[in-house]
């Protein structure tokens, strides 16, 4: 039972992070390899607001989330907008560079030591028992709920709202979308904002659960195989991929070798790349487009 809970928690961590990869890739065909750093930035944003809004923890979380959203929009307008028309590789390298820059700046601002934003917010990460003997921490439960809310929100957003439909249109064919009067810049910026927003929330909750350090970036990188296994342009795929990677990782840690945990997602990724590179739910033609 505990194993099942662990799988669920890990899978929802990956899922919450990977929807950021999917959003940006689906809308603008850019692979954002700085997503781990954006997640970290969200978590450190919470740390910053926690110390100033200490009395109102929910306000702190809210402000930090909005900040995460704005960071994404800003990054798009300051930087990624200029990469349109360049080769895809240049854009990806640009995100890598942004990632390194952010990592450096974050370390400079907050230092490399461990932080505990949960305590600064005045919350206690109590352990809740569910289904008899299995236990789950409050932050992990929050994480699962946040993932469920984010995903259902995104599904509804993409399906029914005006902006969501515009986003899908821009992803399918940017030229036609622009012809129909969709403002691509705004849509791309929105995708970046939503991606950093969900990534930031993931970062905050992970930081609440297990403390905040710069090594949190690796989680973001490990969520990437989950995205790819599901298919880079499919939200449903990201969900399923996260479940697969999470299950494999937890089982390997429990029954084979804890050292494998860092490499297991990439093994699965490699197998996937050889047999079905577009992922479980991805669009096949994507491969030829990149």
């Amino acid at each position: 039972m505990q194993t099942l809970i662990n799988i669920l928690v890990l899978a929802s961590i990956y899922a919450l992070i990977s929807c950021g990869y999917v959003l940006i890739y689906r809308v603008s065909r850019v692979l954002n390899l700085a997503h781990g750093e954006f997640m970290m930035l969200g978590a450190y944003g919470l740390l910053a607001t926690a110390s100033s809004f200490g009395a109102h923890p929910f306000a702190a979380v809210g402000v930090a989330s909005v900040m995460a959203l704005l960071v994404g929009v800003a990054i798009y307008f300051v930087l990624m907008r200029h990469m349109t028309g360049e080769s895809v590789l240049a854009a990806v390298l640009c995100t890598i560079a942004v990632g390194i820059l952010l990592r450096g700046l974050i370390t400079l601002t907050w230092g490399a030591q461990q932080h505990y934003p949960m305590e600064q917010l005045g919350w206690v990460n109590s352990s809740i028992s569910v289904f008899g003997d299995a236990r789950i921490s409050a932050a992990s439960l929050g994480l699962i709920i946040a993932t469920a809310v984010c995903y259902s929100g995104l599904f509804l957003f993409l399906r029914y709202t005006r902006w969501g439909i515009q986003m899908r249109a821009a992803g399918q064919n940017p030229l036609l979308a622009a012809q129909r009067g969709i403002r691509l810049n705004g849509i791309y910026a929105l995708a970046w904002g939503l991606a950093t927003f969900t990534g930031g929330i993931a970062g905050m909750l992970i930081a609440c659960d297990s403390g905040l350090q710069t090594t949190i970036v690796t989680i973001g990188l490990k969520a990437f195989p989950a995205t790819l296994v599901g298919g880079l342009d499919s939200l449903l795929g990201a969900l399923v991929g996260s479940l697969i990677i999470g299950t494999a990782e937890v089982l390997l840690i429990n029954y084979v070798d804890p050292l494998l945990s860092d490499v297991a997602p990439f093994f699965i990724l490699l197998v996937m790349l050889i047999f079905r590179p577009w992922g479980l739910f991805g669009t096949r033609e994507e491969i030829d487009r990149v």
Binding site: L31, L79, H82, M83, E86, V88, L89, A90, V92, L93, C94, I96, A97, V98, G99, I100, L101, L102, R103, G104, L105, T107, L108, G111, A112, L221, F224, P225, L228, L259, L260, D262, V263, F266, F267, L269, L270, L273, I274, P277, I287, D288, V290
Partner: protein
């Protein structure tokens, strides 16, 4: 050599020459002379820097062949370096193998890895390929870490200095000449490869795969060949790295190292061997430049303890700057300068390669 300067080739054999003007020949002799006396003039620090640059240039040239010429992206360069280094370390520890065994063995391991991880390139392009090489990095790092842990070398493998023809390589000056030879050898190999059928096939694949295929280029074979050559050169660089440091540890081969190599290719300038050299020098010297700048600039004192973080941030900034403002890299700047002086006093036109 820009033809707008009035220099034209009149024979086919001029096209085949490496060096075709007298000035170039003199410059080359000067450069060689300077390289020969450099280790005797340089301070210990400068010599070490030169060694690092030369070592990095081998890997940078290898990556340039793959990315800059054949157009295949790789983010797993650190993994290949690690593979070479660990091959050397393991063979040394387990069988006390001498360097003339470990170096070819590293190359062979590199070639096998290149073949394995080049296979996805037959089906995948661009981003997906980058991702599969990223997986290579993590898998090699894991295997290396596993070996260290299982054999009890948890802090790393110590390697004795190699013996070449009864001559122990333990001074920086001796290393300088070995690394210079390695770098020059790689450069010559790469330059000649690029002038051959293989090199032309790579360029054709880079520009447009379908056209290359229509012209009769065996695309899969040449892609794999690019991977194999690049990987085995890189693994050899990794082997040299292991001996040079006298120490192999999985911690040395981070993802950041891969990114640094990619940065060498970008900062130097895609599709130019000179670019690989310039990029290698730039990336290797960059942290020292930052340290120096931090020593003289007024910066918050609490930053001084976090040189690596300043380094990261500045490195990211420089990469972004090059990607945005100078996609041709240092070579682009160099060409423009060259043009300026060649055409002076006329105004230079922006010339594409």
């Amino acid at each position: 050599m820009p033809s707008s300067s009035g220099y034209f080739r009149t024979h086919y054999d001029q096209d085949l020459r490496f060096i075709d003007t007298r000035t170039q020949r003199y410059c080359l002799w000067l450069l060689l002379a300077w390289l020969a006396i450099y280790p005797f003039l340089a301070t210990e620090m400068l010599l070490d820097l030169a060694n690092q640059v030369l070592l990095a240039s081998v890997g940078a040239i290898a990556l340039m062949l793959l990315t800059g010429f054949a157009g295949q992206v790789s983010l797993g360069h650190a993994g290949l370096l690690a593979a070479g280094a660990f091959t050397a370390g393991i063979l040394f520890k387990e069988f006390a193998a001498p360097v003339w065994v470990t170096l070819p063995a590293s190359a062979a391991i590199g070639a096998v890895l290149g073949l394995l991880f080049g296979l996805p390139s037959l089906r995948l392009r661009g981003l997906y390929l980058a991702v599969s090489t990223l997986a290579l990095h993590f898998i090699v790092a894991y295997l290396g870490g596993e070996y260290e842990a299982k054999r009890g070398f948890s802090s790393g493998i110590v390697i004795d200095p190699p013996v070449l023809f009864g001559w122990v390589l333990d001074s920086a000056q001796a290393w300088y000449f070995v690394l210079l030879a390695a770098s020059a050898g790689t450069l010559l190999l790469a330059a000649n490869l690029l002038r051959s059928k293989t090199g032309r096939a790579w360029r054709a694949i880079h520009d447009r795969e379908a056209v290359a295929e229509a012209l009769g280029v065996n695309v899969p074979a040449h892609k794999l060949l690019a991977f194999v050559i690049s990987s085995s050169l890189t693994a050899m660089a990794g082997c040299l790295f292991a001996y040079f440091r006298g120490f192999v540890s999985v911690e040395a081969f981070t993802l950041f190292l891969s990114i640094q190599y990619v940065a060498m290719v970008i900062v130097g300038g895609m599709g130019s061997l000179l670019g690989a050299l310039l990029g290698a020098a730039f990336v290797v010297l960059f942290p020292y430049g930052i340290e120096w700048a931090m020593a003289i600039l007024p910066i918050p004192t609490r930053w001084s303890g976090m040189v690596f973080a300043v380094d990261y941030a500045a490195f990211g900034l420089v990469m972004i700057a090059f990607l945005l403002f100078e996609p041709q890299g240092l070579v682009g700047i160099w060409r423009r300068m060259q043009n300026y002086f060649l055409l002076w006093p006329f105004k230079q036109q922006l010339m594409r390669k």
